[in-house]
């Protein structure tokens, strides 16, 4: 997915009533299949940036063009559908839907969007094996370890095969094996042509070559 952000600004209200400017006139041009690495301390705006790119929140000003689709002009429902069909979101924690089993978590977003492929169960089982969770398809999320949960959320991304991956500290608090699985999965998606936006302090991503690095602390592209 080609991603073009132009003059994106976003402010939040402080508890004291003042404005907190998170993003100011941010412009980035990201080609399909490239990697954008986000750097900066906690609270610098990395997550807000990802939420804006995914259409979860709208910027105060500026435009976001994703493969010629102006995200800021889409209705909320259309943004939901766009996200379900095109974006894979991997969070640090808080990533599985507790009402659903492991396998259901994998295909739930596409099921809600009404876009499930015909052989969805078979495909989901294959991906589960791939991330080392074969045989756990009927477990509930609360019966899994933190590492296993994160691998399920990665499996969900692999299943949807999105054209844009937003990974927000995807390996934080994970054991080495799980972190490696997550790393391999994101690498695989990149090889498949997905655009990746990554925010991570984990050294496992040191060798993950970025096409573009944006430093939120200085507000500059490095």
């Amino acid at each position: 997915m080609n991603l073009v952000l132009q003059n994106i600004s976003k402010k939040f209200k402080n508890p004291d009533g003042g404005d907190l400017e998170i993003l100011k006139d941010l412009s980035i041009d990201l080609k399909s299949g490239s990697v954008l690495r986000l750097k900066g301390p906690s609270g610098s705006g990395k997550t807000t940036f990802m939420n804006i790119v995914s259409g979860l929140i709208l910027p105060d000003s500026g435009s976001i063009l994703a493969d010629k689709i102006e995200i800021t002009r889409l209705s909320e429902g259309d943004r939901d559908r766009f996200r379900a069909e095109n974006i894979g979101y991997i969070f640090q924690t808080f990533n599985l839907l507790s009402p659903f089993s492991v396998i259901e978590n994998i295909y739930a977003p596409l099921a809600f969007a009404g876009k499930l492929p015909a052989d969805y169960k078979l495909k989901a089982l294959e991906i589960l094996k791939e991330v080392g969770l074969g045989g756990l398809e009927n477990r509930m999320p609360y019966h899994l370890s933190v590492g296993q949960r994160q691998r399920v959320s990665v499996a969900r991304v692999l299943f949807a095969n999105p054209s844009l991956i937003l990974a927000d500290e995807p390996t934080a608090s994970l054991d080495a094996v799980s972190a490696k699985t997550v790393f391999d999965s994101i690498t695989k998606c990149r090889k498949n042509g997905a655009t990746v936006v990554l925010a991570s302090h984990d050294r496992i991503f040191d060798d993950f070559k970025a096409d573009l690095v944006y430093d939120f602390e200085n507000g500059r592209i490095l």
């Binding site: 807000t48 009402p99 259901e104 739930a108 977003p109 099921a111």
Partner: protein, 429 residues
């Protein structure tokens, strides 16, 4: 698939908070059970009243009696008759071509708080053609023979309640139910000659004797009182005061009349209400008035039930809002995965609908089964012939009110989710 997922999410939420769910359903069910009970008991009361009033369209009573008092004391055995009526009026009515049947009613004594009513054999045959038990030698057609004034015929439930069988003897208390001057009357005992089959009306709770026995008791009573006053020089014998309402020879408390048609009822009502020493009342009209009062009582009880229901629904709504707050993060995650606001809102709406619908259903089932279970007890003690599985109008109104309120609450909950900026909520954490 999408619908299946929404239902799966709903079921999970219910499982996750099953305690609150069950309490919410039970609270609605309890309020609804009360509504069902009120509706059915009031309907049962009204039906019993109306059915009882159908047999005798006209009552002739003593002058000065009120319509309600006449109906209550003569048909339902409630309240005292007001004074006495000349027996000749009964004889005149019997000969009237507009009258198909007339029955004298003489009330005075009571047994265990149940009025003992003086009637004739024709009346017994009119209300019950058959008997559960009948003493040997007692003629079916003349069960309250003038030859034996000690005979009594019992209503089915009275016999059951006091364990009386044919041949058993009992003594009445002299005076009407509720009389301050009532006292035991050991010198005139009654023997159970027959027990009627149930007729599902106030007759099941009645004790009938020959009306001439009432005359005889009061004749003896009058002599005793006079003797007592003469010998002791007392002006008034304690226990015999205030008995001027009791029928003595040639007097009755009321006459029940069956007429050839409603026009005859109307004519007779007019004739016997104007200056003939009597009052006539159209039973159907009076009962209709009584039923109207019952309906007002039902409405009042209904309002109370609806109030309870609405309070319960408000509580349910608060628990749903609490659940929404608990699930805010999960809902935010669903949004990030592309699951729309509408789908998420539907899970809450369906959950609210399930709570109200299950509550209503459980309440209706519990209410009707409770009525079915307590039917014999209510019938036995109150004489209300319930139809446990009859669907009362108040229940239908209750269902409509509950479901509409439930839908409004569900929509409010849905709007709350719809307008909640979940992502900003999460982003601010």
């Amino acid at each position: 698939m999408k619908t299946a997922f929404i239902f799966k999410a709903v079921l999970h939420n219910i499982r996750h908070r099953w305690g609150v769910f069950v309490i919410s359903v039970l609270a609605i069910a309890t309020a609804f059970t009360f509504l069902s009970a009120v509706g059915n008991i009031t309907f049962g009361l009204a039906s019993t009243a109306v059915n009882s009033s159908l047999s005798y369209p006209l009552i002739i009573g003593p002058e000065g009696s009120s319509d309600t008092q006449l109906v209550m004391s003569t048909i339902f055995n409630i309240d005292k008759p007001q004074g006495t009526l000349d027996y000749k009026i009964y004889e005149k009515l019997k000969e009237d071509k507009r009258v198909t049947a007339a029955f004298p009613i003489a009330r005075a004594d009571s047994y265990m708080g149940i009025p003992i009513t003086g009637v004739n054999s024709d009346f017994i045959n009119d209300i019950s053609k058959s008997f559960v038990l009948k003493q040997d030698g007692v003629d079916q057609e003349n069960v309250l023979s003038d030859e034996d004034l000690h005979r009594a015929v019992l209503g089915f439930k009275i016999a059951q309640r006091y364990g009386l069988k044919t041949g058993d003897q009992f003594v009445g208390s002299h005076g009407h139910v509720g009389d301050e001057n009532a006292h035991s009357h050991a010198d005139f005992s009654y023997q159970v000659a027959a027990i009627m089959n149930p007729v599902h009306g106030p007759e099941d709770f009645s004790i009938y004797i020959n009306f001439k026995a009432v005359w005889k008791i009061h004749e003896r009573h009058g002599e005793e009182a006079e003797e007592y006053e003469e010998h002791e020089g007392h002006e008034g014998h304690e226990g015999h005061e205030g008995h001027e309402d009791h029928p003595v020879q040639g007097k009755v408390s009321a006459v029940l009349v069956k007429t050839v048609n409603p026009v005859a009822t109307s004519e007779l009502e007019r004739e016997y209400s104007t200056g003939s020493g009597s009052t006539a009342t159209d039973v159907a009209k009076t009962v209709r008035r009584i039923v109207q009062y019952m309906n007002k009582a039902e409405s009042a009880a209904g309002f109370f039930s609806y109030g309870t229901l609405l309070i319960v629904l408000a509580m349910v709504f608060v628990t749903i809002l609490m659940a929404i707050s608990e699930r805010k993060k999960e809902m935010a995650l669903m949004r990030t995965l592309g699951i729309g606001k509408m789908s998420i809102s539907f899970t809450v709406m369906i959950e609210t609908m399930l709570v109200t619908m299950l509550g209503v259903l459980a309440g209706i089932i519990a209410g009707h089964f409770m009525l079915w279970y307590f039917k014999p007890l209510i019938d036995f003690n109150l004489g209300i012939n319930l139809e446990p599985f009859f669907f009362a109008e108040v229940e239908l109104q209750g269902i409509i009110i509950t479901l509409i309120s439930g839908q409004i609450l569900a929509l409010l909950a849905m709007f709350r989710i719809y307008n909640m900026n979940l992502i900003e909520e999460v982003a601010r954490d």
